[in-house]
């Protein structure tokens, strides 16, 4: 499996970041960064990571099942994550998530038919003091109102 030169460089650096014989430590970062480029944690990616980290594919596979940010199926190009945990909930996070479901016509962990947008109700993402919070891919959006959410989605549609 081949990756972009940037990702190859990152993998190379990762494999040299641990004590001798500890390349298994690179499994999680390689899956996370690999997923971003490949689009999902595919069987092929699992086998490639296993080969490079000198572990069995099963040792990689069991890790994929544990971490909530790893996905075996591709998500939308824009993965919209709405937090409804305690701090966000108190200031309208749950209502914002309901609004997001209606606006996007999607439910929890669903992806639009064109593959552009996916939605997920997520746990605390560390934006409690600036709630309610939304993350699109890795970008934070703070103090999100329903109007701002609509604008955000329109912006994404125009960017597609």
């Amino acid at each position: 499996m081949t990756f972009s030169p940037e990702l190859e460089a990152r993998f190379e650096k990762l494999l040299n970041s641990y004590p001798p014989g500890r390349t298994r430590s690179a499994v999680i970062p390689m899956l996370m960064y690999g997923q971003d480029e490949v689009g999902a944690v595919t069987r092929e990616l699992i086998e490639e990571v296993a080969k490079r980290c000198k572990v069995t594919p099963l040792q990689v596979d069991e890790v994929v099942g544990y971490y909530s940010m790893m996905h075996r199926q591709p998500q939308g190009k824009y993965h919209v994550q709405v937090c409804t945990n305690i701090s966000c909930m108190l200031v309208g996070g749950a209502e914002l998530y309901e609004h997001a479901c209606k606006k996007l016509g999607l439910g929890h962990k669903q992806t639009s038919a064109d593959g552009n947008v996916s939605l997920e109700e997520v746990e605390c993402m560390g934006a409690c003091s600036w709630a309610p919070a939304v993350q699109v891919n890795y970008d934070f959006h703070h103090h999100v109102t329903t109007e701002q959410f609509d604008k955000l989605i329109e912006g994404l549609k125009n960017a597609v």
């Binding site: 970041s17 641990y18 004590p19 500890r22 298994r24 430590s25 690179a26 499994v27 999680i28 970062p29 899956l31 996370m32 960064y33 980290c53 572990v55 040792q59 069991e62 890790v63 099942g65 544990y66 971490y67 909530s68 940010m69 790893m70 409804t84 945990n85 305690i86 701090s87 909930m89 108190l90 200031v91 749950a94 746990e123 605390c124 993402m125 560390g126 934006a127 409690c128 003091s129 600036w130 709630a131 993350q135 890795y138 970008d139 934070f140 703070h142």
Partner: protein, 434 residues
């Protein structure tokens, strides 16, 4: 960048550079006492560094509040094994968003704190484990680390000394459990984040089975100021046994929620009414979660309290990670209990049965109560089940789910009972259990 305006009552130790232009750059750091503490620490013996930390009364800022100097002193410095420094930047406790601000605005302060820890325990490599959702902070730290290497503040012969240190950033994969120290170490080793049996503690067998200092971001960030200005000066900022300042994350029903740096022992009501700007619409305070969702709730009448580890512990709650969640009189505590339990049921790693089954059953029972299908015995059953989880798991997640639940039921029992009474079967007295 800062996401909220600072407040005049803040005491700026960790945040002292935040107002400077390019506060994250090494030049700004060096121009404002950067690496002064490292150079001072280099001239000290490891015992002196650790003694200074003991004098400072610095306690672990991740939630447990364990004295940092004592934790470092447990590392067998003369062990032939390599030693490691691991930074817990897996900030995931609901209500907590302080490590983000610390890394984003002053990454070099964290690097210097790590280097001083390295001097104290003879470690020459470290890992900053950052939660996967904080990808932009991984980039911030990688940039700061690259600059530090380039300018001789990481790598070989740091700042002209004979001390060598390599620092790496590790991404998490989205798991609350990995904020627990032994699960974090498992994750760092490329495995599922399940807790380890202790002892041995990480100080003896941590990362790669080697002696390891593992602390929260804020704890490491506090170290340069302690070494630079002395442990006594730092201790004097707080209350006895609770030294220094604490980053508090005010959230919930407030006019000015935000992250602020306040001395330990700061009054909670002043925190709410002055720093946080009071409750919107003049509504009344109902309850406060003082240190992240794992901490038992405080009723409004308990909130005239000094926010330090010992004073909050006297109220049978915890200062925790500094996530202060304010709830006004409109808050539905039963719905809060359900939302919090949905979180723990989702995040339980499944390793210990009392936690895995307990959180799931509590979630189901609380859902049933909120849906109006609860029966009178459910309220006691929630309480009893939670109590049976306490102390029966390898890591604190089981307790973290059970303790707040018990406090919700015991302090707001009438609200749970009101839900149960709404059940048409209960109100027609067809069910007489309970």
């Amino acid at each position: 960048m800062l996401y909220n305006a600072p407040h005049p009552l803040e005491v700026k130790i960790l945040t002292r550079r935040f107002h400077l232009e390019n506060s994250a750059s090494l030049d700004t750091y060096l121009a404002s006492d950067g690496f002064v503490a490292f150079k001072k620490a280099y001239e000290m013996t490891p015992e002196q560094i650790i003694d200074e930390l003991k004098v400072s009364n610095l306690r672990g800022r991740g939630g447990a509040g364990f004295p940092t100097g004592m934790k470092w002193s447990f590392v067998p410095r003369t062990s032939p094994k390599p030693k490691y420094i691991v930074v817990n930047a897996d900030e995931s406790e609901p209500g907590t968003c302080k490590d983000r601000v610390l890394m984003e605005n002053d990454p070099n302060q964290l690097i210097e704190g790590i280097l001083i820890a390295g001097l104290a325990v003879d470690a020459h490599a470290g890992y900053i484990y950052i939660r996967g959702e904080y990808r932009y902070l991984i980039e911030v730290m990688e940039k700061a680390i690259a600059e530090a290497y380039k300018r001789g503040y990481l790598g070989k012969n740091i700042a002209g000394t004979n001390f060598n240190f390599d620092l790496y950033v590790q991404t998490g994969g989205g798991a609350y459990e990995c904020g627990e120290e032994s699960a974090l170490l498992e994750s760092l080793e490329g495995k599922r984040g399940i807790p380890r049996i202790r002892p041995p503690f990480p100080a003896v067998a941590g990362a790669f089975q080697c002696p390891t200092v593992l602390n929260n971001v804020e704890t490491f960030c506090s170290v340069p100021a302690i070494i630079r200005d002395g442990g006594a000066a730092y201790a004097a900022l707080g209350t006895p046994r609770n030294g220094g300042t604490k980053m508090v994350c005010l959230s919930g029903h407030l006019n000015k929620p935000g992250v602020y740096e306040l001395p330990l022992g700061f009054n909670l009501l002043t925190m709410i009414n002055e720093v946080g700007g009071g409750i919107p619409g003049g509504r009344k305070l109902k309850a406060v979660v003082p240190g992240g969702s794992s901490c038992p709730i405080l009723k409004a009448e308990e909130c005239d309290v000094a926010m330090d580890y010992d004073s909050v512990a006297k109220l049978k709650s915890m200062l925790g990670s500094g996530g202060v969640v304010i709830m006004d009189e409109t808050t539905d505590i039963v719905k809060v209990a359900l939302r919090v339990m949905r979180f723990y049921a989702h995040e339980s790693c499944g390793w210990c049965i009392p936690c895995r089954e307990g959180t799931t059953w509590l979630r189901k029972m609380l859902q049933r109560i909120v849906d109006g299908h609860g029966v009178p015995s459910d309220v006691n059953m929630v309480n009893e089940l939670a109590k049976n989880m306490l102390g029966r798991t390898f890591c604190p997640l089981g307790d973290a789910a059970a303790m707040p639940t018990i406090s919700y039921v015991e302090k707001f029992r009438d609200e749970f009972e009101a839900y149960v009474r709404k059940n048409p079967i209960v109100s027609s007295e067809l069910v007489s259990v309970g």
